[in-house]
Symmetry: C2
Subunit: 346 residues, 2 copies
């Protein structure tokens, strides 16, 4: 089948603007014999304000039938914290078993880094996506009283840890430096940490060419700002991955350039690709949003669907575009999308 | 009583070297009518290797009788991860109810920051010290099998959250900028997050002069590298505090300058002061360890015991010493201690 059947959740704020550019570039890069079918889904804050719904069972079922999902950004300040996160974003990651949350960090030419001396940065974080403190197994008793106790449970299974660790080793093996760092906090979270470290060491024996090391999450944040070049592939738990990938994005050109894939490598369910940034309501509609993170997420989507050459073309276009950006006048969202689409079409 | 009865846990690696300088400065700064009594405790990796003991009940009971504890660093690579952390360091924090883990970050003159442009950095993190995922309420079933499940439980109580939030508001109120930021992840850890946010908002109404804001922990790491000047006082949970204070130390001159106090503000039990850095076995005995973090921890100790003027003198000595450091030849641990002791004695 040479058709890509894509669900599109544009979402809120700058979401629709950046998704439009992602689709523009996707359309431009696809070879003539691959058709693109897009199916928009009206989900997010606007929908919730209008209907009180986050995601219906019927929508979830329909979404399951597509090849992949492209998501822009979800949320606005009017929605209580947690409603759309738990009811939509995390619901999709869990329902579609997106156990590999892939977040590459590259410091592209001519981008700004807050780090002095612009170190070389080129690593990828493989964040577990279906376990840890994200499972929603918490609760409170005596809520709102002086005797409230609120618990959150981090659940970690041999099955869940091993599959993501295997994925990370395979990715490390395929990269020139072949280095994999496990990030956890096994001196304090000893039970989960033991499972992660044991699994990491055991699977590692099957990859003798991969150099491994271990860092506590607190130490990992230090290296992220003092020596990010030391990282090649990082594998880590859902919450630690959330934290260090925002930091990674910040040091490598900013959250405006950070792409991510919520991937189910078994392809049993569609994978979902989204920029790491949020809906940025303050700049929505102004044409100031940088669509690059979405375009880079489209590259991850192409790679996941087996279009490696096209993925590489998109990434090369972004690199070239950024390299020439300091010479260019400030461009709108649309103009950046046009420029990238023109480059991949060449 | 004009005697400071101090328990000293020098520990391993560079611990004894930096503690010696801390005591040197403490002795030099105390007024003639305040005596210092030190009681060494042989605890840490060396002791564990020799006896298999981390901390006996008898020692814990004796420790409880001192005015305060000065700790150097604990651990060496030969001790399995978690043994000394859970059996000694965290045991002390929990036994002595150190619910305020105080970690100031200041970018001193002439220190190196990995951040371009050396932003102004002067904030303090109030990290909760007795709850969260640190409580040790985890466990595994079917350990070592493909069906293992390892859980970690974060426990948060109204009592525990409110007392540390109150402490943080009082600290913010006492500072010129009067700003307090709550760091959590209440869009995902909704139960614990709700308790924290609710408590924060409620206590905040008693402090109308304090400006408040809220950041998710992932976003907080971004600001830590792009705009650390935005922070004045931060209050956060035990694990988030662990992570962001290492990052804070890294951006403000490095872990070699970061001080901390594990404080029980009720004074029911002794508080414990320690540099944030570890035992650094690779440089132990070489005279290369910088004792400044320990000396700054001594300042926190002095302040906690009510010797504000002396605390300020120690901090001023460190600032002056660092300001002249780039002119000075590289000094040994001992020479830095001597220089600081001489300054505070003047
Ligand atoms: C919005 C939130 C639920 C999400 C997360 O915590 O995973 C976001 O921070 C991310 O990193 O994609
Ligand atoms: C050694 C470890 C238990 C400790 C912690 O996690 O609190 C350390 O990282 C710290 O920050 O003091």
């Amino acid at each position: 089948d040479r058709t890509i059947d894509l669900a599109v959740i544009s979402g809120d704020g700058i979401g629709p603007e950046v998704v439009a550019q992602g689709l523009k570039v996707l359309t431009a890069v696809l070879p003539p014999d691959v058709a693109l079918e897009t199916h928009p889904y009206d989900l997010g804050a606007k929908r919730w304000h209008a209907t009180g719904e986050t995601l219906t069972d019927e929508e979830l079922e329909r979404l399951a039938g597509h090849d992949a999902i492209l998501l822009g950004a979800i949320g606005d300040p009017g929605v209580p914290s947690g409603v759309l996160e738990r009811g939509l974003l995390l619901k999709l990651r869990f329902a579609f078993d997106h156990f590999v949350n892939l977040r590459p960090s590259t410091l592209f030419p001519n981008t700004e880094s807050p780090l002095a001396g612009r170190p070389e940065i080129d690593f990828v974080v493989v964040r577990e996506g279906t376990e840890g403190p994200y499972v929603g197994n918490g609760g409170s008793i005596r809520k709102g009283t002086p005797h409230e106790v609120a618990n959150e449970v981090s659940v970690n299974t041999a099955f869940g840890v091993e599959r993501v660790v295997r994925d990370a080793f395979a990715r490390a093996q395929a990269r020139p430096r072949k280095k994999l760092t496990l990030v956890h906090k096994n001196n304090v979270l000893v039970h989960a940490g033991h499972l992660w470290k044991d699994t990491f060491d055991r699977v590692g024996r099957e990859y003798p060419e991969v150099t491994t090391d271990y860092l506590h999450v607190d130490a990992a944040t230090i290296f992220m700002v003092t020596d990010p070049a030391r990282f090649d592939v990082i594998v880590t738990d859902n919450l630690f991955g959330d934290i260090i990938t925002d930091l990674a994005a910040a040091v490598s050109g900013g959250i405006g350039l950070a792409a991510s894939g919520n991937i189910n490598p078994t392809r049993q369910f569609p994978s979902m690709f989204e920029p790491v940034h949020g809906s940025a309501p303050d700049i929505a509609g102004s044409g100031k949003a940088d669509p690059t993170a979405t375009v880079l997420s489209v590259a991850l989507l192409l790679r996941h669907l087996g279009h490696e050459a096209e993925a590489a073309r998109v990434e090369a276009a972004v690199t070239a575009d950024l390299a020439e950006r300091d010479a260019a006048p400030v461009r709108t969202t649309d103009e950046i999308g046009d420029a990238l689409a023109a480059r991949v079409a060449r």
